[in-house]
């Protein structure tokens, strides 16, 4: 029976701390709840494997980075259409609210529940590249630097994606109000 290493308990602590963040990101990326659970499980196993090489800086960004990589791999295999290249994303983003169902709802209420359903729908329709930035910033409250690490792009790209996502969302919601 090998002695229990401190690495094990450190890993358990790390998973306990960041599991909810991992689930939230996975769910927003792949949307399907069952698939999201699979992604989290795979990601945690992968994290366990890589944990000895983890240097202990910003554990949450590290975990979320793994979750994202697993999620994207799954999406590529399951639904290749979800991962568009950048040009397609731009097009899709531009077309999003022109054809969007946002304005088909005649009267929007300011009820919280309504808001929640609305934002679920609007956010789900955003291209993945924009959606993940918004989720990481506004729901997980990561800094630009952390987001840049998770999605592996320069901070400037994080900033412009965030703005594009927010603008689309605010304008879409505004059209309903």
């Amino acid at each position: 029976m090998p002695p229990r290493s401190t690495a094990d308990s450190a890993f358990v602590a790390l998973v306990e701390t960041h599991l909810d963040s991992a689930c939230n990101l996975a769910r927003w990326l792949v949307r399907d709840p069952m698939l999201a659970d699979d992604v989290v499980q795979d990601a945690m196993l992968r994290a366990l494997k890589y944990f000895p090489g983890f240097r202990g800086e910003n554990a949450r960004a590290w975990v979320l980075q793994i979750v994202r990589n697993v999620a994207l791999t799954r999406l590529r295999n399951n639904a290749p259409g979800e991962i568009a290249d950048v040009a397609e994303v731009e097009l899709e983003a531009a077309a999003l609210y022109v054809a969007g169902d946002a304005r088909q709802e005649p009267e929007a209420t300011l009820m919280r529940e309504e808001d929640e359903r609305l934002v679920q729908r609007l956010l789900a329709r955003l291209p993945l590249e924009l959606r993940e930035c918004l989720v990481l910033r506004e729901i997980e409250e990561l800094s630009y630097k952390e987001i840049a690490r998770v999605i592996d792009v320069p901070i400037g790209t994080v900033m412009s994606r965030l703005w594009r996502g927010r603008k689309l969302l605010a304008e879409a919601a505004g059209e309903q109000a």
């Binding site: 939230n24 927003w28 659970d37 956010l123 506004e138 603008k167």
Partner: protein, 274 residues
């Protein structure tokens, strides 16, 4: 759709909104925003999108996933040739138990129940309170104490519940012997939730409570003593960020568990508002 051409400062306005600018950059931008209609429109969109997004659900882990994960990790750890994560996981706060015996079939690694999580959180909170208690002569530590206590006793967080400063301000009359500035910052994304009375260093303080996303900010206000010198002070106590300044004859302290940059943004917005 927005037909205005976007100002080149758009991403800076956004960075300010996200608390990513330092105080000097943020101050320069306040002036620009006053003059630039496009940037005011940008600010409105930022506020609107944040309000929407923060109404969105955060999907947390389900007990089913936790259980599944526990099993998978036990197996994964074994196949990695390491000791599996044992049932003793819930006792990891006890240093004597860092060497857990391997569980019989190494498949019993269950995650803590939510009740146990709550208990652990309570322990942490108590630990924080205890660790700040001996320094009670220090204003910052006292504020952390008061803030924590108010958050724990949910009903004491706010004595007067109102998002309208015309309601909150008169409420203080007769309860404190000064008229604290009560500011509404909805345009900046901070929602006034109400106010309460608190005692800091044997002085009565008016406290304004704001909601900033998922964070609660307490703003403590009391008349400044004539000789209290420092203008702006920035501190961190036990993970809480505090900002202190004087304005209009008052000493103002704000405290929250927000990040340092976001706290600076809040403080600068509060000071800039009238």
């Amino acid at each position: 759709m927005n037909t205005l051409p976007e100002c080149e400062q758009t991403l800076l306005v956004q960075a300010d909104f996200d608390g990513e600018l330092d105080a000097a950059q943020a101050a320069a931008l306040v002036r620009h925003r006053e003059e630039c209609a496009e940037c005011r429109a940008v600010q409105e969109k930022l506020v609107r999108s944040r309000a929407l997004l923060r109404a969105a659900s955060r999907y947390n882990s389900s007990p089913r996933l936790r259980e599944r994960l526990g099993r998978a990790m036990a197996d994964g750890a074994q196949s990695n040739g390491k000791a599996s994560l044992g049932a003793g996981v819930s006792t990891r706060t006890d240093s004597s138990s860092t060497r857990w015996p391997a569980p019989p079939r190494a498949r019993r690694w269950s995650w803590r129940s939510s009740a146990a999580w709550a208990a652990a959180a309570a322990v942490v909170l108590v630990a924080v309170v205890i660790s700040v208690a001996p320094r009670s002569s220090d204003v910052g530590a006292q504020l952390v104490n008061n803030h924590l206590r108010a958050m724990q006793l949910d009903s004491h967080l706010i004595d007067v519940v109102s998002t309208d400063h015309h309601t909150v301000k008169p409420w203080f009359a007769g309860k404190v012997d000064f008229a604290p500035p009560v500011k509404q910052l909805d345009a900046d994304g901070y929602v006034l939730k109400g106010g309460r009375i608190d005692v800091v260093e044997a002085r009565t303080a008016a406290v304004l409570v704001y909601q900033a996303g998922r964070h609660t900010v307490d703003v403590f206000i009391w008349p400044a003593r004539p000789e209290s010198g420092t203008i702006f002070q920035s501190r961190q106590v036990d993970g809480f960020n505090l900002r202190r300044w004087e304005e209009g004859g008052f000493e103002v302290w704000c405290i929250s568990d927000m990040g340092a940059a976001e706290m600076d943004t809040f403080a600068s917005r509060w000071r800039a508002s009238s």
